[in-house]
Symmetry: D2
Subunit: 109 residues, 4 copies
Amino acid sequence: MTGLQQRLARFAAERDWGQYHTPKNLAAALSVEAAELVEIFQWLTPEQSARVMAESASAARVEDEVADVLAYLLQFCHVVGVDPLAALEAKIERNETRFPRPGTGHSME
Amino acid sequence: MTGLQQRLARFAAERDWGQYHTPKNLAAALSVEAAELVEIFQWLTPEQSARVMAESASAARVEDEVADVLAYLLQFCHVVGVDPLAALEAKIERNETRFPRPGTGHSME
Amino acid sequence: MTGLQQRLARFAAERDWGQYHTPKNLAAALSVEAAELVEIFQWLTPEQSARVMAESASAARVEDEVADVLAYLLQFCHVVGVDPLAALEAKIERNETRFPRPGTGHSME
Amino acid sequence: MTGLQQRLARFAAERDWGQYHTPKNLAAALSVEAAELVEIFQWLTPEQSARVMAESASAARVEDEVADVLAYLLQFCHVVGVDPLAALEAKIERNETRFPRPGTGHSME
């Protein structure tokens, strides 16, 4: 993931896109790409959405939008200096405490 | 990243959330978290947005929303069977061809 | 609608919010409120989503988010000088031509 | 506005789109259109965003996305039975109480 992040940073630097890549703009671009992923599913039933990868055209669209979302997420993280995997690990640990596994009795003790 | 993806999958399975985790719903949840990231920046100037990590309260919000976006992106990818790093790598390669580095003369030849 | 638009403009002017109300920021705020509307529905089945107004807590949330979306849409339109009803009317007319009513044979003539 | 809402409802009914127009799907479609509005502004400075209507191509895009956002907002409201103007009026009244006009001393009395 670090390798991809560096390639994205070099790609942007070579094109002098740094001036556009404020945290605010990258967050907006990320949300626009997430919406393009939503668009694929917007009129589908839950069952149809579960079969989205069965058709090559919609599968390619899904892969493309996933790539765009991850690209902007990594660029955003690069610019603000956040390690996304560490942020997620910390969050999972908080959530495992907040929402204990049902049946373990943790929440009752 | 695979380790985090497995922890998220186990976390959801233990709570019987699989029924909610259709590709359609996870894409919507991803877009909602991306919007929460946008919300942090919505009234900031570009300059203020560049200093978002200087204040601990907004830095913590940013890390939290990054974690949420990545969590739903990984869960979405798990459910549809897409490798997000491979999807991004393929996209970067397409983009390096489509938008050649300025000054190399590629686009002019 | 014009009356509401004027009240919103006065409300913002009295609080000196004009500096924040660039078209870019208002578009972002609109998208954040739209995501908050999506959030209400994100884990619901289509059937559950059709009954969202039957429960008073979710009905109130829906009304609140609808108000927020419309508020930012009207403020955006005020700032850029677009009449939203005229824009929609023009769009409906274009769509009635592009997607003729099935069975009328328009698309075949 | 009611007239436009009825035209949209008739347009959808004639094409048998009612089955797709669950509140959940219409909220998602609204958020996708809001993101398309954001996309116009994503790389612009605040100053550039303030001049978006000066160029005819971007002005037309803005009008088109405003129309789409309003179209889905009205269709959503029709399906859930919410009057958007009444919802906004109620919200403005709550906000005028919550955020009193500065300098009037209301919040102090």
